[in-house]
Symmetry: C2
Subunit: 111 residues, 2 copies
């Protein structure tokens, strides 16, 4: 169960942390170095590195070291895998929900 295809477990786990989502949001604006990412988050460079490993494993980010600076960018693969998962499950859910009919209506007015 390792990472040839994007692992959905890694993906959800990666996105489950607010700091990591913040890192991604930062990277969407522009590629950034590790310390550039760390500063506004108020956490250590080491912590950012640890998050980056997780984001890379989930293929949500990609990093590359040139000289003493590691440049980090957002990567599309993980995101696409997430979309695919959603698509697959939505169709499955909708199929079943339609079959059950009133269940959907019942859920529409939330609790």
């Amino acid at each position: 169960m390792r990472n040839r295809p994007v692992d959905i477990d890694r993906l959800f786990h990666a996105l489950g942390d607010p700091t990591r989502r913040a890192i991604l949001d930062g990277l969407v604006d522009r590629p950034q170095s590790v310390s550039q990412l760390a500063q506004p988050l108020g956490i250590t460079v080491t912590a950012v590195m640890q998050h980056l490993e997780i984001l890379e494993a989930a293929r949500l980010a990609h990093t590359e070291k040139l000289g003493r600076v590691r440049t980090c960018r957002v990567e599309a693969a993980g995101f696409r895998a997430l979309e695919q998962w959603i698509r697959d499950h939505r169709t499955a859910w909708e199929r079943k929900l339609d079959r059950l009919g009133q269940l959907l209506a019942e859920e529409d007015e939330i609790r």
Copy 2:
């Protein structure tokens, strides 16, 4: 930062656990009782209950007790919130990725 709207943190956290995704997959087939869910998973009823609380908080499931049986169903609200999050972020990402141009192409042939 609590749950009036579906909380994206809860959502990702809820979906980050394989057992919980398995529970949802089971519920998609048909509504089930807590013990019906527990049996094929090989975990205790108590453990399932704990997962259900998390799934309910994320609005991915809804449960209701009638007599001594608690019936669990899949709920659409959480799932819709996830789709919305994806939609929002995809457009943001695509905008930026397009602006960067070659970055996308680069990422297409994975690592």
